[in-house]
């Protein structure tokens, strides 16, 4: 899923404080799982903004709302009128939702309340870790199910580098060495012999390097 983290409150306040009316708009799927951008968090953030407005004696009407997903038209039906009438929207979606709304409501300023941080999982409650960079050409089949693009700080395809120490990455003792994990996993699978195959040069044109990506289902 997509993971995001709320921006510092001051940064959010500076973006929105000059409006007379603001809709704080949650996105209740990915970013709700990490408790940063769901409809509940939209309600809390709206309350904090109202409090700040009151403290600073700023005249701004703040409404909170939200939908299931800000990246598809069909979810907007029930809130169409609310958004149309809004002077500005503070979206708690990831960058995708913010852009979707900015395209959909071309005359309405849409501000991001979150920094979209990564594509990750939830290995334990309250912990979120990066697992994919959407490079467009998955190699998990040969790396034992451990992604070198997102999990190696140098995205090495033939790691580990010389900085791998007791399972940790050279950049931090908190960061696992992806290639230690690859080696452990290949060993567990009885496939350590495949480690010696030199992985070829990566085609990064399928990554963001190749420009914005899209695809179309011809049947629809």
């Amino acid at each position: 899923m997509i993971v995001g983290e709320q921006k510092p409150f001051e940064e959010i306040w500076e973006m929105v404080k000059d409006h007379k009316q603001l809709t704080v708009f949650g996105c209740n799927t990915c970013v709700a799982v990490c408790h940063q951008g769901g409809n509940k968090e939209a309600g809390i953030l709206a309350a904090q903004l109202r409090m700040r407005a009151s403290q600073d004696d700023v005249d701004i009407e703040i409404i909170d709302s939200g939908i299931e997903r800000q990246c598809e038209h069909e979810f907007f039906e029930k809130t169409e009128e609310l958004v149309q009438k809004s002077e500005a929207v503070l979206s708690l979606a990831c960058g995708i939702g913010v852009q979707f709304m900015a395209t959909k409501y071309e005359a309405t300023p849409i501000y991001p309340a979150l920094n979209t941080t990564f594509l990750g999982d939830v290995p334990e409650t309250g912990v979120f870790t990066e697992k994919c960079q959407a490079c467009g050409d998955c190699v998990l089949g040969v790396t034992g199910g451990v992604c070198p693009v997102s999990r190696c700080a140098k995205r090495l395809f033939n790691g580990p580098c010389g900085g791998s120490t007791t399972g940790k990455c050279e950049i931090s003792k908190e960061t696992e060495c992806a290639w230690q994990l690859v080696v452990d996993r290949l060993e567990a699978l009885g496939r350590l012999d495949t480690y010696e195959k030199v992985m070829p040069l990566k085609d990064w044109s399928k990554d963001r390097s190749g420009g914005p990506r899209s695809f179309k289902l011809e049947d629809f």
Partner: protein
């Protein structure tokens, strides 16, 4: 003597059966070339070739290529260190041609320290290729006379191709297989991480010999003299992939502070003397970091002087 394929002096020395001696110079954080020339002057008679580091520890410096050109101009045999951290395949191939156009005949292909260690942790890194893929790239350019794209290079670069190996990185069990991958990628010489744990290095070399890799690649053992017990402790605690045994720290600690530098030199000399006898060690890479003036003494006391004169 085995046939040489490049104009590299390092290649000639190794292929003529001598144990080679290389050293390295870190370029200055300035546009003044005097510094690099002085370093070259200090060590030139005691080494066969001189590595020039490429923004080591991710601290921005005068570029490796320009520093190599200065050394080449002094009649020396530079080894262009090139990291894949800062350049994509277009820039790498371009710099390889540029270096070759100045008669630089050696390249050491590295991944490079992560930028978080250096002066620009906010920088974007590149890592379009990894170090092995850079080795493959240089060999492809040299041997096939082609760019990665397949287009012809009319005058291919004449480069003797090296890579690094760290026998002390984890997991240890893949450190010999990883060397095998570098050899399979086309590495012709290897310069190792600084060796302080000689037992572990010798264990790694056993694995290297068991697979016959020492007959496929020239392995230069990395030696860095310790200047003080503080340096030894720092390397042990703070440098990932560095293995400084406790007994070495005890030995440095047991010496009067003023004599610790001398002790460090003696340890380096003893290490070389021991490793000279290890089958498969083809030479030494003496990295006296910002202490280049000590390289001649280390080389002389290790019995590696005079250097062979080979045309």
């Amino acid at each position: 003597m085995a046939a040489t394929v490049t104009g590299s002096k390092l290649e000639r020395v190794l292929k003529s059966g001598h144990q080679a001696v290389t050293s390295e110079c870190g370029p200055p954080r300035s546009s003044d070339p005097a510094h690099i020339k002085e370093k070259g002057e200090l060590i030139k008679d005691h080494v066969d070739s001189i590595n020039v580091t490429d923004n080591q520890t991710s601290v921005t410096r005068l570029c490796s290529l320009a520093a190599c050109i200065h050394l080449k101009g002094m009649g020396l045999d530079p080894v262009l260190q090139m990291v894949v951290r800062d350049r994509n395949r277009i820039a790498l191939q371009s710099d390889i041609l540029g270096a070759a156009s100045f008669g630089i005949n050696n390249i050491l292909c590295l991944s490079g320290d992560h930028q978080s260690f250096g002066d620009s942790p906010q920088a974007s890194n590149v890592f379009d290729l990894d170090s092995m893929q850079l080795v493959q790239t240089v060999r492809h350019m040299r041997d096939e006379g082609k760019f990665l794209s397949g287009d012809e290079i009319k005058v291919p670069p004449s480069m003797f191709v090296g890579a690094a190996a760290n026998p002390f990185g984890d997991p240890f069990k893949i450190r010999v297989p990883r060397l095998a991958k570098k050899v399979a990628s086309g590495a012709e010489f290897i310069q190792t991480q600084c060796i302080y744990n000689l037992d572990k290095f010798e264990k790694w070399m056993e694995g290297v010999r068991a697979r016959g890799l020492h007959e496929e690649v020239y392995i230069l053992a990395g030696i860095t003299p310790l200047r003080s017990v503080g340096m030894a402790r720092y390397l042990q605690k703070n440098v990932p992939g560095m293995d400084v045994p406790d007994e070495l720290i005890e030995r440095m600690k047991g010496v009067d502070k003023k004599k610790q530098a001398d002790e460090g030199i003696t340890i380096a000399v003893e290490s070389i003397q021991r490793l000279k006898e290890v089958e498969g060690v083809a030479g030494f890479h003496v990295m006296a970091i910002e202490w280049e003036e000590k390289v001649p003494e280390i080389v002389e006391r290790s019995g590696l002087y005079p250097r062979p004169q080979i045309d």
